[in-house]
Amino acid sequence: MLERRSALAAHPLVNPANRADLSTAGTVRVTLSERPTLSILQVSAFAQTADAAGIYLAGALELELPAANRFSGDLRKSVRAIGPGIWQIVGDDGAVPEAAAIRATLAGVATVVDLSHARAAFQVSGAAAARTLAKHCGLDLYTPKFPTGSATNTRFGHIGMTLARIDDAPTFELLVFRGYAEFVFESLVEAAEEFGLLILT
């Protein structure tokens, strides 16, 4: 397996010495971090076999199948229902099965694509996290419209993202195309600065 690296490895703000002017003197109401070594598999069932694919998938992952636009599981291993017959398995290397294993389980009923190297993952957390994201996302991110356990495809500015709310802090997790990682990171820094931002990456 290829070694995974942070999508922000070349970004100057990753060096704490370069973000002295991002003041953390006041109250921190948003924390921003990257999850650099996430394992991501996308499962797309064929139209006629979506029901069967869901049952096999839940069994293979030992997780309950989530309702539409929800996820089940935890940070270590989760499965997200992001469309009819479309699931994303997201979690730590080792906890998420290898693509080949899931592909064998779902042979004939669904296709499996490994997106681990194609996405960058960010977490935005804290009292002002929803207000930060609202600058780039049209969804109503507040409970009850987007409670903990929600996961959906939507927009971040002009690009697409998979957005999940993973706890009540609230913490949001963004999966975006890896080539846009620096754009998303800088947009989040700029959006969050006025609320008091702490970068943990």
Binding site: A47, N69, G138, N153, T154, R155
Partner: protein, 88 residues
């Protein structure tokens, strides 16, 4: 902004969707050039109810069939374009 109530994702901004075309039966591969001309280029452009295909490309990535009033933007009907059970 106009919003559509996606049958899979719920109400979303129109900016998540891409317009496809008006709903019309796709001609057979051996249909006449005149039939293909009508399908590809000719539009009725009605004032009022209009059946349209939209793609929810920044959401569930499904094609939807929407009957939309072109004068008032009111959505009269919205459903998935897929007919999985019939094709099975």
């Amino acid at each position: 902004m106009q919003q559509f109530n996606c049958p899979f994702c719920g109400t979303r901004d129109q900016s998540e969707f891409t317009y496809g075309r008006e709903v019309a039966p796709v001609p057979a591969l051996d249909a006449s050039p005149a039939d293909w001309q009508r399908f590809v280029y000719e539009r009725d452009n009605p004032c009022g109810a209009h059946a349209e295909w939209w793609h929810h490309n920044h959401g569930c990535r499904q094609w939807l069939e929407i009957v939309r009033d072109t004068l008032t933007h009111e959505v009269l009907e919205i459903k998935a374009a897929r007919r999985s059970k019939e094709r099975a």
